[in-house]
């Protein structure tokens, strides 16, 4: 398992992460980001994609 952290002071609710990694990131009906703080190693590739596509670089991968 790996852990991520989204810096809420940076996150602008762009929703790009939810496109790249829908199993980890979702936009709720209020337009706000919800995410799984830990995810299976098999999802590392799509989570890296999500990190790349966040326009404000709000997503951080922890070990």
């Amino acid at each position: 398992m790996k852990t991520i952290d989204v810096d809420r002071t940076l996150c602008d609710n762009h929703g790009q992460c939810a496109i790249a990694a829908p199993d980890v990131f979702r936009m709720n009906a209020d337009g706000e980001l919800e995410y799984e703080a830990t995810f299976d190693d098999a999802l590392l590739d799509v989570v890296e994609e999500a990190i790349d596509v966040c326009p404000v670089q709000a997503i951080f991968l922890k070990d």
Partner: protein, 417 residues
């Protein structure tokens, strides 16, 4: 001896290419050559938040510097060094220092530079926005008493006008041929955006070209001196302490001249982002002109933030496969996407709305985009794009899904070049 891939251009396209080369299994040398002295940084804030409040140069860079994937190790960065020329047959580059750099594979990631308004007049007080230094220099001239003239009403022009107005400047937006963001978004939404800009105190001048830059009396000698505004084609004068030129961009391809490539608008590529006429050369980002497999139509450049990552994901595996003698994988057909922020209102688009022949309102009123609206863009009866303004991300994702599901037209790969 270890083989080498050189990436020309060290911005987002260069960074994403380096990362994707490693992800595609390239374990040999990667050298990135970039003429800017900074490591890759994010450009969208340059006309928005960062223009409003950049802080010191160090703070500004820290706020926008792009993080590099941890899996992308062992990349050599040659910053502050420009590629002056390329001999693609011999597979060598010449740097501005005169040094020759040999390569096995080459990635073209040299992006764009701003076009200037080609009319006579003084140069001081005239700005463009592409680099960190541009934003710092422009910010230092903006005060709440400044009169600002923005020439060009594309994304960057509208964003800069909104940022300056929010700082208290008195802003005139000289739209030029089309209305605000009209080319990508269409007439109706553009008119609504103009109303929005006007409500925030921006004076919008429609349909008039700039004929001349005015000079502060007594300072003008042979193109030197300080700009005092612009004269429009009908003779009207717009006084300004600061002029921002936002009239589009030119691809940085001069260094590729003499190799028989099609450089008429960026560098022409196939759907794998392989450069036509050059083996072992690919292009990524704003400089790449490639077939739009979703919307159809001729190859074109896509100047959006998402393009460097999208194209790098196709180009890197194609280059690596070519160098290793493997079969080049089937390319993805990425769905373009973009956004812009005007006075805290977000406009987001997917697909290729600029290519539409028919536009339909899906919700809200495009003449009041700040209250929330969505539009669908069709070409030959097929949905090819959607744009939302002031809607929550989940609505935007919903419309994105619709465009995505409208699929890739049959025979699209043939429509290519």
């Amino acid at each position: 001896m270890s083989r080498r891939i050189v990436i020309a251009g060290a911005s987002m396209g260069g960074l994403r290419a380096a990362e994707q080369l490693r992800a595609a299994g390239w374990e040999e040398e990667i050298v990135v050559v970039g003429d800017e002295i900074h490591p890759p940084y994010n450009r969208p804030p340059l006309s928005k938040d960062l223009l409003a409040a950049p802080g010191s140069q160090e703070e500004a860079l820290a706020a926008v510097q792009l993080r590099q994937r941890r899996t992308a190790t062992d990349i050599q960065w040659r910053l502050g060094s420009a590629v002056a020329a390329a001999d693609l047959a011999a597979r060598t580059l010449t740097l501005d220092s005169g040094e020759e750099l040999a390569y096995d594979g080459l990635v073209i990631a040299t992006g764009l530079r701003p076009r200037r308004v080609p009319v006579p007049g003084p140069t001081a007080g005239r700005h463009v926005i592409r680099r960190l230094e541009d934003t710092l220099a422009l910010h230092s001239e903006l005060t709440s008493r400044s009169k600002v003239a923005v020439i060009g009403a594309g994304f960057i022009g509208c964003e800069a006008a909104a940022t300056a107005a929010a700082l208290g400047c008195k802003v005139t937006l000289i739209e030029g041929a089309g209305g605000p963001m009209e080319r990508p978004l269409g007439h109706e939404l553009s008119a609504g955006i103009r109303t929005f800009l006007q409500t925030h105190g921006i004076d919008c001048v429609a349909g008039k070209r700039v004929n001349e830059f005015l000079d502060v009396p007594g300072t003008y000698t042979e193109g030197a001196g300080r700009c005092a505004g612009v004269r429009l084609e009908d003779g009207t004068e717009v006084a300004a302490d600061v002029v921002i030129e936002a009239v589009g961009s030119l691809p940085n391809v001069e260094w590729l001249a003499g190799n028989g490539l099609d450089l008429s608008d960026g560098v022409l590529c196939n759907e794998h982002l392989q450069v036509l006429g050059a083996e072992h050369v690919v292009a990524v980002g704003d400089v790449a002109r490639y077939p739009d497999r979703r919307a159809g139509g001729p190859a074109r450049r896509v100047e959006h933030w998402a393009t460097p990552a999208d194209t790098a994901k196709i180009a890197a595996p194609a280059l690596v496969a070519g160098l290793k003698g493997d079969v080049v994988p089937e390319p993805a057909a990425p769905l373009p996407s973009f956004w812009t922020d005007i006075f805290k209102t977000r406009i987001q688009g997917v697909g290729s709305p600029a290519l539409a022949d028919t536009i339909e309102v899906l919700e809200g009123d495009p003449s009041r985009p700040w209250e929330g609206t969505a539009l669908a863009y069709y070409r030959d009866g097929r949905l090819i794009g959607a744009v939302t303004a002031a809607l929550l991300a989940d609505r935007q994702l919903h419309y994105r899904k619709l465009v995505n599901e409208s699929g890739i037209p049959a025979g699209a790969d043939l429509a290519a070049v």
